[in-house]
Symmetry: D2
Subunit: 291 residues, 4 copies
């Protein structure tokens, strides 16, 4: 005999582009370029066990709701969109007790002075996740991913333990490069200025990465988390996953050439991965925020 455990379902990667005409301060169009994913849970046992779909709002309807809310809400911050959309599903679908909305936002920069011309920036992807549960409350986690940063010096790695499989040399000067995947949990969701929080967190990441003389990527990770919490008081917890994008000095000695930190090769695989959490001292319990 078996039984159903945790489950959820929804529509992934609804690619909606919301244009607000002449909405910028200078009269330009504003763009919200999003990939929105919805995920609903509640009492869906009958759907799984006997094919009774009476509680299964179609994922096609969820997709339509994303489009309709994009119209109704305008070019809002992604966190605001997620909060409204998550509440809608829980409030209007009786069997649904929890909704999780995840948004990726791709940034565009104005070009050409037309007011309607843009280039996709490619620097990073902004993320926002909202979980709304009708008994366990609502949580917002925002983030950045796909941000690739490099220090060409100011990084060391030594003093590590050496076992029988250790051949790595110590270094007092290496390239440190990573692709930042950072997510930060907010203490609440009322009266938060989402746009300012994003700008503040992004600046904190760049400042901490560049400003930390690093003895390991772990240390840089901690500095980033600490800085975000310091700069954005509405944030109580930061989770980071930092791949170590190795850049190895090429041995040019066989060709009669020295290589004083000039020529590196950028390795693909394998790569290190450093994952860690930094919490404010008074961070409340995360509950279902990260589920």
């Amino acid at each position: 005999m078996v039984h159903l455990g945790a489950n959820r379902y929804g529509k992934a990667e609804v690619r909606v582009v919301r244009v607000a005409r002449h909405a910028a301060l200078d009269g330009r169009d504003l763009i919200r370029d999003w990939s929105v994913s919805t995920s609903l849970s509640g009492d869906l046992t009958a759907a799984h066990t006997v094919g009774d779909n009476s509680a299964v709002l179609p994922t096609d309807s969820q997709k339509n709701t994303v489009y309709a809310f994009a119209k109704k809400l305008g070019a809002v911050e992604p966190e605001s969109f997620g909060l409204a959309l998550a509440a809608h599903f829980v409030h209007t679908q009786e069997p649904i007790t929890r909704a999780r909305i995840t948004i990726e936002e791709y940034a565009w920069s104005a070009i050409g002075g037309t007011g309607y011309s843009f280039a996709r920036s490619g620097l990073l992807t902004r993320t926002a996740t909202v979980v709304h549960d009708d008994t366990l409350g609502t949580h917002v986690v925002s983030g950045i991913k796909d941000l690739v940063v490099m220090n060409t010096t100011g990084s060391e790695f030594w003093g590590f333990p050496r076992d029988e499989y250790t051949t790595l040399g110590e270094t007092k000067d290496r390239i440190l490069a990573t692709q930042v995947d950072a997510r930060w949990r907010f203490r609440g969701f009322d009266r938060v200025n989402w746009a300012a929080a994003f700008v503040g967190a992004r600046a904190a990441i760049l400042a901490a990465f560049s400003g930390t003389h690093s003895y390991s990527l772990q240390q840089t990770l901690y500095a980033i988390g600490e800085r975000i919490i310091a700069e954005v008081p509405a944030v109580c917890e930061v989770r980071l996953a930092l791949p170590n994008k190795h850049h190895f000095l090429v041995d040019l000695a066989p060709f009669g050439l020295d290589n004083d930190r000039e020529v590196y090769y950028a390795a693909d695989r394998p790569y290190g991965v450093i994952e860690g959490t930094v919490l404010a001292e008074d961070a409340p319990d995360p509950g279902i925020a990260w589920d």
Copy 2:
């Protein structure tokens, strides 16, 4: 003031190919083609906060250990490899209290009758994850991903609720296609025949997918989980994530053509995602198995 929360680090995607010469029953070479990822945790606070690396076994050493163990252990099942490697790190590195090993295995089929020629099968990726914690015990989760399956009939979807955003029609006959991401947790790790469990679970997935007249992908998901547990008694829990790879009938009426379930277009995005867990009635608590 902030403090460090959960953290771990390791080497990702070590691409090791282990060849066992003339090891197959018919004298062929055997291949294990793996991507191995390691992740260690323990008391690593000093590394994060003050740049003290005395507990940080380099990820380069972890990579070397993967290669050395591939030599020592031979072309074993990935679960056996993970168990040995995870135990090694916890047993030999004093500050390390938990190791997590994840392996992806890519299958090759013999070609040409030489005994040493192969083609990569591409049908699916086999996965195995071992978590070894020095107080919380050891868990094994195996799985399959990248397996794309389709039923060209035998699937319905109707009886769902209709809200103001619902435009989807009901259907008694649609294509059902998904890319299976299945993972199954074992009750223990002694005396399990990993190879047989993999073969059994794979067969169960294919049999349940093809053999279920489906009223929703949720129902198919549950049938797959149920079948794996029934066929592989060493398994106590199955977690599945099934994207609904939509195939929509093309409207050919504008061209004076009917389309009686003949011409479909395969959509990329958005897509449905159905996630669910099926548990044996007597499944023990998962503990850290899925962390």
Copy 3:
């Protein structure tokens, strides 16, 4: 002053799945799972220079035509589909003098004995390209890509020149692995059995790869081309692009272990690339076949 040179336009990656119900010999459904791309050329100068679209059949119409032809033609071989579609565009659109149709076909294998259940094989992608020009004639080029093959022995590389940048050692035994990208041009397009030609060419590739004791990937490339032409008389030319998917022996000596062709790491980048053409002695001029 500038002027317009060569140009073309069309719709790329129309993802059509054609199901023929109960059409297999054993009563199973047949599937053609395709990505079809169209490209038209002719006198399109006015569209480029003055925005006059009177000759520009919309790419949306080209997409619709793909679907309609999938209905009309049934689950035919991709070459037959391309021939009919290319001719259609040239014959019905007065300004269009050339059409190029490219098809990728993804194979599915029957599972479960239902007659309507399938798994995507993943072994390789079949390709077919048809160019129809109203004065320069019609050409068919078929192919295979994404086929990954490996010989675990039977490959050497030595006797190469050594310059000041050469550090590579000679080897009498290495792994040889590649991802085959092969295309073959047919002498004509009447009375060709496309299905048999594909099966023959695929078999020739596998036989030549496994059966060639290789002194270089160049030699293997030539053997593959030679074998296809020998086995499929309708083919007059083969073009191959073979990446050398390097598998390097891991140096385990630092760990006190030997490594007699047992443990390799599979490198990602950089990789060698070998490109070459093999022609039948009497191959006619390719004309626009490869444009």
Copy 4:
């Protein structure tokens, strides 16, 4: 009987990062982040037909040469690097008569004011290709790819022919978005300011895209080519491939909502592709520049 046709071989995607310390005007480090591919051709028949490698400089040596030249040449423009490297292979390897070097360059922006901290920009990829043939001369083709641009208005599409498969409506206002793949051929390679040419061509692309009221993507393509040639006199030919990244207005009428150019969905596949060439009136014959 068969014979060998055109062939070449080399190393692909050598990922070299060249750091020039304190080399920027303001004392910052300079970075050249490249993926370099080499391809050599000449009399390599014996390698293909009898496994005689005496003319086959290993691709491993080619890789080493990339690294050594990065050291020797410094953080130069990619075109200068390609010219030197291509000449080296042809001049030093007797059987080699032609070398083709392709470089992708990834841009980094300074962050944090340290002089050694950078973020990868992600806006676009710069490309440079040099072909050096010992009888047919030397050609340089530079380019940009991965640049995604969008006009949210200022684009129309109407006046196209309608056949039996045409259902598309005419529009006087649509989103026009594309991912620019542009390559431009230089008249020569002496006394060209590669950096200035790149900056000029990039500006020309952005200005032409944003500044063209477009009746078709073909018209925009031509305007881009024309503008590059006008702004960068050293360029004589431009080849462009522009996917039409469709953004379709969502029909919100079923939900009682209008949609006056506000909510779009960004489609993945299929997509239009417009390819075209723009030439200066006095453009010399390209010879082998594009091979």
